[in-house]
């Protein structure tokens, strides 16, 4: 279908009608541009928020709360305190779960190294907690079983804590003071979630000898292997039942024990963003339709305006087919180029945003689904061709004598 003459015809008509061509093109550029932008923004939002799910996806967090119902002779308002014993039970009765770990927050946590000090979070844990938090080892090592079993005064610290306390210095093997007790630093960890790197983790066994009650574990975490959301929820329910019996709270008492299922939460968020993406897609498609209507309108005017010229051409021997092709090719060409420009501008803008704007908790890596954008461009070309086709066919079929009379 490549025909140099036809192209020369098209270029000369475009040159003749610069403004009109520009306006046609603009509606298409705008439609595709908006589609790309909306898509990119939607993706950025989803990426940003989902990125914050920095913990292991199969992690579960549970802890005792305060009872809200009287049960087995106990009053309501009783705190449920979990202990080492409870974790041992968990280990014994639930072979399907792994990385069972306590997590106890340590109060009064001014930490110092030489003359530097700061206010950081300190958590006493078992080793499994490091898996649930999905820590990345940056330097040295993480806490291990040996540390726990031997009550060692060691700590792993987060990257931003290292920055504040040690600046350029290598912290491994150095001692920091937590509430005036010296701890040896054995490792530095990173966490996707920036806020979770200004803290230190110490062995729970050591903490139970110094900072907190002997048996206290705070709350606990575990990971659930490859279980799906339903399986995890079933396990959580079983654990609740076990503790309900042991700690004498009603199974109906929702406040006696809380749980947080990372996978469920993640999947819910994914659903939310799927919905947002669908919404964005619908808006984008309507924007494209607006562009299509613009093209249709202008193609109608094009054909109307060229009725006389079409009449002349027919008098000179143009067949209906060549008239149709002439109009069609022009509209497809214009919409194609414009669609591509819209796509290009949209991608450029998103890339610049990506470069210039730092990633935040709500927005990161705005990107366009290229398949989607190409699809939209094809769609708009086809629509432009259809919009041009019907008026062109009409014009091509009217009698030349009528077309010639047109003023």
């Amino acid at each position: 279908m490549f025909n140099l003459d036809q192209w020369q015809e098209i270029f000369s008509t475009i040159r003749k009608n610069k403004l009109r061509t520009l306006l046609t093109a603009f509606s298409v550029v705008w439609g595709i541009f908006m589609l790309v932008l909306l898509q990119g923004a939607g993706n950025g939002l989803a990426e940003g928020v989902l990125y914050n799910f920095s913990d292991a996806r199969n992690a579960v967090w549970m802890g005792g709360g305060t009872t809200s119902m009287a049960h087995e002779g106990y009053n309501a308002g009783r705190r449920i305190e979990l202990t080492n014993e409870d974790l041992d039970l968990l280990d014994k009765h639930f072979p399907e779960i792994e990385n069972i770990s306590a997590r106890h927050y340590i109060n009064a946590n001014v930490i110092s190294y030489k003359n530097n000090y700061g206010d950081f979070g300190v958590f006493a844990i078992h080793t499994g907690h490091q898996v649930a938090e999905a820590l990345e080892l940056v330097e040295g090592r993480l806490l291990n079983e040996y540390d726990i079993q031997h009550y060692r005064k060691v700590a792993v610290i987060g990257t931003s804590m290292r920055e504040q306390l040690f600046k350029e210095e290598n912290p491994i093997g150095k001692y920091i003071k937590i509430n005036n007790i010296s701890f040896k630093i054995v490792g530095v960890f990173g966490d996707i979630h920036e806020g979770e790197t200004s803290r230190a983790y110490i062995p729970i066994s050591m903490a139970q000898k110094t900072f907190i009650a002997k048996n206290s574990i705070g709350f606990f975490t575990f990971t659930a292997g490859n279980a799906n959301v339903e399986e995890i929820n079933a396990t959580v329910e079983k654990i609740r039942r076990m503790y309900a019996g042991k700690h004498h709270f009603s199974l109906d008492d929702q406040r006696a024990m809380w749980s947080h299922n990372a996978l469920e939460n993640f999947q819910q968020m994914q659903m939310v963003f799927k919905a947002i993406n669908l919404f964005v897609l619908i808006i984008g498609i309507f924007t494209v339709i607006a562009g299509v209507v613009g093209v249709s309108n202008i193609m109608l005017i094009v054909v109307k305006e060229r009725t006389k010229e079409i009449g002349v051409r027919k008098a000179l021997g143009a067949r209906p087919r060549s008239i149709i092709f002439l109009i069609l090719q022009e509209s497809v060409f214009i919409t194609g180029i414009a669609g591509y420009i819209g796509l290009f501008l949209g991608v450029i803008l998103l890339e610049s945003i990506n470069k210039v704007m730092p990633a935040t908790e709500f927005f990161r890596n705005p990107g366009v689904n290229l398949k989607m954008a190409v699809f939209a461009t094809l769609l708009i070309i086809i629509a432009g061709a259809l919009a041009g086709f019907f008026p062109a066919r009409k014009a091509a079929h009217i009698k030349p004598v009528v077309a010639l009379r047109d003023e």
Partner: protein
Amino acid sequence: MIALNNLHKSYFNGSNQLHVLKGIDLEIQDGELVSIMGSSGSGKSTLLNILGILDNYDEGNYYLADKLIKDLNETKAAWYRNQMIGFVFQSFNLISFKNAVENVALPLYYQGVPRKKRNRIALEFLDEMGLKDWADHLPNELSGGQKQRVAIARSLITNPNVILADEPTGALDSQTSYEVMDIFKKVNEKGITVIIVTHEKDISERTDRIIHLADGLIDKEYRPKKTMDYV
């Protein structure tokens, strides 16, 4: 040869029927220079449109070079127009964004002649009209007479059997009109049939045969005196 037998044509405007041609019988031999005259509304333009296959007719027969031209589809009609007929219009009908040589070459484009070749041929025809130097100019840079000569070159480029001219001098002053008529005369001398619709008596008198229409019928037909007397 052009032959019309009992040709009828009506226009319908809502419920009104306007009977424009009421049975035209006419023969025009190859190589004639004919003018069709008549007052406004006499049907002369309608007749020319039918001769040019720009319009259809209701009744009767129209033979062009022994072929019956009746109820053709658009593609077929386009082919006949392209091969056998050259048009010259009152308002020139040049395509405004094409220069002179491209306008002249357009009918060859629809024959599929390659661009270089058709532009070369077009330039020869422009040269014959004395417009070689204006080949690159757009229509709005040309005078009325020049435009009409470009249009005539365009009508001639396919070497048609017949040239149909609808008021070709209607938009020109009398001096230019006579020049255009001289061109038609030269064209005719090469053996091409020329049919001119006009309402100007002095133009019609420069043809060899005058067909006079009134109220949809040929009311008289005559040969004018020697035209050279006027020059």
